[in-house]
Amino acid sequence: MYIVARNIFRFLVLILFQVLVMDNVMISGYMIPYVYILFILLMPFETPRWILLLSGFALGLSIDLFNGTPGMHTAASVLIAFVRPYLLDLLASRDGYDPETYPRIHYYGFLWFLKYTLIIVFIHHLALFYLEVFQLKVFFSTLLRVILSTIISASTIVLSQYFVFRK
């Protein structure tokens, strides 16, 4: 029960933080760190997949509502919620994941978390940015934006592990 309450609280805080603070942080004009997906990243290992998917949907929809964008964040968030369990299986060490632990630097180390974050963030940004431009004319400039934004979002998320979500 405590875990559920904590996740709902984190959900609300991350959305407000994204909309009120991060959406106003612009790096060189048109890149912004999307840290709200941290919610999906940090959900407990044993979360059932349908809860993951529905949370991704709710998360993306909330961001969409605040940004006035139709469905783009929703589509991207549902996608990473779907990919996450497969990625976790892929990144698991031979012993798998211990119960009572969470997907965090504190338990699984910097390198593991960096790989995990980079892949999820990249998939999310790839879907989001191409849905946003919705045309292939600007394929390479969009790809550049995806890569640069991935670096920025991922570093913000990794840094947050040292300052905010320490344990």
Partner: protein, 272 residues
């Protein structure tokens, strides 16, 4: 039947995933610019409210400056009153006097701004109560900013030049040829002027102005200058315009109120 149920059970997560993605994609496709403007209106009221509260705290510390501004404004208004009464003395009818002011500017502050998206919007802290309505023009000291999309009691949203839905007629200062100004979604510093025919002589650095071919902007508001141009599409130039307005450092804007807008639109609609 049983196999179907087993199938659904086995692939329930995949099916849920597909269902949610279909909903999201349907939202994207369905999301016309009208719906978007409604949604933006709603959420900008929420965020606008929060931002104005944050700004409210900041304003408390700048009360002194605000006071000075009010004094200045008072002086100016009194001057205008003197002027007006002297004009009435010289037998000018008040109604006509009002008609003399064709454009009026409403000073306004930006409380929310984005420049990095494909569909950027600004929020202003003035709304219907202050005389800001849909389809009014917005300018800054530097030049053209955008058009009011929606206004509530105390806030309004602006669709700026740097939004892919933006269209406005603009002309080249040196030869008065008019084209369509729009944004291709790349850098917030540049916009595209299209539909200038190939025989027009252009040079880099020419100034682009609003054409006045609408009831929204007066003629001759500065938009930007020509950065480069090309003839890729055959008969028409693609002109890259460097915008004078720096959207990344924009705080104060003026909303243009055109007292004769209604009259013009009414007449134009009659003829349609």
């Amino acid at each position: 039947m049983r196999t179907l149920l087993r199938f659904i059970q086995k692939y329930s997560n995949l099916l849920l995933f597909l269902l949610l993605e279909v909903i999201a994609v349907a939202l994207i496709i369905q999301g016309s610019s009208y719906q978007r403007s409604k949604l933006i209106g709603l959420n900008r009221q929420v965020t606008g409210f929060i931002y104005s509260k944050v700004d409210g705290a900041r304003e408390y510390f700048s009360l002194k400056e605000a006071n000075e501004q009010l004094v200045e404004e008072n002086v100016e208004l009194r001057n205008r009153l003197d002027l007006a009464s002297s004009m009435i003395d010289s037998a000018t009818v008040v109604n006509e006097l009002k008609g003399e002011y064709r454009y009026y500017f409403v000073q306004s502050r930006i409380v929310n701004n984005s420049t990095y998206k494909q569909y950027n919007y600004l929020t202003l802290d003035k709304g219907k109560k202050q005389g800001v309505f849909r389809n009014m023009g917005v300018v800054s000291d530097q030049g053209l900013v955008g058009i009011i999309l929606e206004s509530s009691a105390n806030f309004s949203t602006v669709i700026p030049v740097i939004n892919r839905d933006f269209r406005l007629s603009a002309k080249i200062k040196s030869n008065n040829y008019a084209g369509i100004l729009q944004w291709e979604g790349l850098s917030p510093r540049f916009a595209i002027l299209s539909e200038i025919p190939f025989h027009v002589t252009l040079s880099e650095g020419d100034t682009i102005l609003t054409s006045g071919f609408s009831s929204i902007f007066p003629e001759g508001i500065e938009v930007g200058k020509i950065e480069s141009f090309s003839l890729e599409k055959g008969n028409f130039y693609d002109i890259r315009v460097e915008l004078f307005t720096n959207f990344q450092q924009l705080y104060h804007v003026n909303v243009i109120r055109n007292y004769r807008q209604e009259e013009q639109l009414e007449l134009e609609n009659q003829n349609r």
